[in-house]
């Protein structure tokens, strides 16, 4: 067993970044995720591993610093919260277009606009459907515990490099701010070799020059590039991850990710105390979405409640997955309000069991 610590989710992200051999972090403060940069600075990450840590002048600058470092094959990341992630969308789209691996962390807060600093899950569409301009997808991981905040940093980097694609950890103010016990993984060395087939580290005589760009003035070539990207996004579907909670005998189902999944676990237990057999499917990857396991489960249940701290975003993917074969409803408090397990149970009884 590794080292046990009591940590905030945001701190776990930062510690995991150091241990995952991350080469650079570029960020800009915003609540509720400022602890990531604060931790990297107070821990002197630059001394522990030689990792570059820099506070940029804006989210725009931060994501473009990530773009630059990622162009050279480095393991590089940034983190922010919703309004800051909106600013980063330009750079994220460029990285998706140029096929650069990187890690982006969004500790979501309520919107739209400046919104609130309280937790929310209303950035689902932005995260899973692209976010910026153009046809692209990110690999999206949704941690539901501080442990996963740590574990997914490593996983996200591995997946990002496997597919040469930006990966996003979609967290929220609950998971970012809460403390739980976390078992830290061993320190990994930073990479010393880089894939010379694409990185821009200087043209050596033994190879052609490498160019990182997302530009193709010829639309036919750009279409071909898009075909290539789409084919990659299809391949990424092999990475689907999910967790089943009390599903084996379930007559009803809840679907929820991240902090809502934690709240639903409690709601499931409360419902089972009343003798109602409900299970929970927790998508761990939001892109790729676990459509097939959900379709499979839908065959045994009488109704599905999609729970999310939003006005109802993930429900669209839930409905697409089950092909209208079973009733699907949404429940969630939003704009920064966190639903309680009792509220979820109440909505479940009214919308699914009673309805």
């Amino acid at each position: 067993m590794g080292e046990l610590q009591l940590m905030k989710g945001n701190e776990a992200i930062a510690e995991a970044a150091i241990r995952a051999g991350c080469d650079a972090y570029f960020g800009y403060p915003i609540t509720p995720q400022s602890e990531v940069l604060e931790y990297l600075m107070s821990e002197k990450a630059y001394e522990r591993t030689g990792m570059v840590v820099l506070q940029a002048e804006s989210e725009l600058a931060a994501i473009n610093m990530v773009y630059g470092a990622a162009s050279t094959g480095k393991r590089v990341m940034t983190s922010s919260s919703s309004p800051g992630i909106s600013l980063k969308q330009e750079g994220i789209s460029y990285m998706a277009g140029a096929e650069l691996p990187c890690l982006i962390v969004n500790v979501v807060r309520g919107g739209p606009g400046l919104g609130t600093i309280q937790p929310s899950q209303a950035d689902y569409f932005q995260s899973t459907k692209g976010g910026g301009h153009g046809d692209y997808r990110l690999l999206v991981l949704a941690p539901a515990s501080v442990q996963e905040m740590s574990d997914f940093v490593k996983l996200a980097f591995d997946l990002a490099f496997k597919y040469r694609n930006p990966a996003l950890i979609l967290s929220d103010g609950v998971i970012g701010q809460m403390m739980e016990k976390v078992e830290l993984f061993e320190q990994q060395p930073r990479a010393t070799t880089f894939d010379q087939s694409w990185v821009t580290t200087g043209k050596t005589p033994n190879r052609e020059r490498n160019i990182i760009t997302s530009l193709n003035l010829d639309p036919v070539l750009q279409e071909q590039h898009n075909h290539h990207l789409q084919e990659k996004y299809e391949r990424m579907k092999a990475e689907v991850r999910f967790e089943r909670y009390h599903c084996d005998d379930a007559e009803y189902l809840m679907v929820a990710y991240g902090s809502s999944a934690r709240i639903c676990q409690k709601a499931v237990l409360l419902a089972r105390e009343k003798g109602i057999r409900v299970g929970l499917l927790r998508p761990i990857t939001l892109y790729p979405f676990p459509s097939e396991p959900l379709l499979e489960l839908s065959k045994q249940v009488k109704g599905i409640l999609s729970v999310e701290m939003s006005a109802g975003q993930m429900i669209e993917d839930v409905r697409l997955a089950v092909h209208d074969t079973v009733k699907v409803e949404h429940y969630g408090r939003y704009g920064g309000v966190i639903h309680s397990p009792e509220e979820v149970l109440d909505a479940f009884m009214k919308k699914i069991v009673g309805g």
Partner: protein, 270 residues
């Protein structure tokens, strides 16, 4: 005498630097981009640093700079080249990194990135092409468009009360503590080209010595955007651009040398 009798190694007086690709330049005849590209590539070749140099292309006419420069290059989002350069330089401090940007890219949409990159003193080179207009999008007003100068979005001339003042961003960055070498040059005559090359060499030498940021403005014409012949555009540039954007060094080795800037700071130079 046949032309083949002339094309002989012993008759060679000028050739393309090996660090420029054989792709046909996409720039208009008479534009300063091609010359500036060549100057930079010559310096990289002469210093023998091709294997350690990464260039950042902007958005604008020179977005395709990577088609012409035979080095590893990264194309940046509009205005973000200094941030991209920062990301590379911070993770590869031993490499040579430069950005190549136009006036809209560097002095309008990318002002924040420019100022903060210069102020942090990133050890990189910024090459700034100022032709007072947005060339690629078809001749719109730039932050550097002169007062009274016509463009497609200031068709009756730049009116300060309405459109604001032209921005002398080079004078601005010269005053930041992070910049080491700041100069304004041109490439419209052989003499000017030689001076520019000297400046580019100094900038890369500064980077080698890790002295801070070197910033080279190249005042150029945009004969298509200005709707003039190349020759007329160069003459117009000398008569109108140079008085407002005077050529010469502003800061050398971290010390301000421009009389204008020193007098602004209250330092007597006479």
């Amino acid at each position: 005498m046949d032309i083949k009798d002339i094309i002989k190694p012993e008759n060679l007086v000028y050739k393309r630097t090996p660090l420029l690709t054989s792709n046909t330049l996409s720039y208009c005849p008479g534009c300063g981009h091609g010359t500036t590209h060549r100057v930079i590539m010559e310096v990289i070749e002469e210093m023998g640093i091709q294997a350690d140099t990464i260039g950042i292309a902007p958005v604008g006419c020179s977005v395709l700079a990577y088609d012409f420069m035979d080095i590893d290059m990264v194309q940046a989002a509009h205005g973000r080249a200094p941030a991209v350069a920062t990301g590379i330089k911070r993770t590869w401090p031993e490499k040579f990194v430069f950005s190549y940007q136009g006036d809209g890219d560097l002095a309008a949409i990318g002002t924040s990135e420019t100022i903060h990159c210069c102020n942090r003193g990133e050890s990189i080179v910024i090459i700034f092409i100022n032709n007072g207009i947005y060339g690629m999008t078809g001749g719109q007003m730039a932050p550097t468009t002169l007062v009274g100068m016509k463009s497609s979005t200031s068709p009756y001339g730049r009116d300060v009360a309405f459109m604001g003042n032209p921005l002398k961003i080079t004078e601005l960055v010269a005053q930041l503590p992070g910049t080491c070498f700041v100069t304004r040059q041109a490439v419209h005559t052989p003499a000017a080209v030689r001076k520019t090359k000297k400046a580019v060499r100094m900038a890369f030498e500064n980077q080698k010595a890790n002295k801070g940021l070197s910033f080279i403005e190249v005042v150029s014409n945009c004969n298509s955007g200005w709707k003039m012949t190349p020759v007329a555009a160069n003459k117009w540039m000398e008569e109108n651009m140079f008085p407002f954007y005077p050529l010469g060094d502003m800061k050398v080795d971290g010390r301000i040398v421009s009389k204008e800037l020193l007098s602004l700071a209250g330092v007597k130079t006479e």
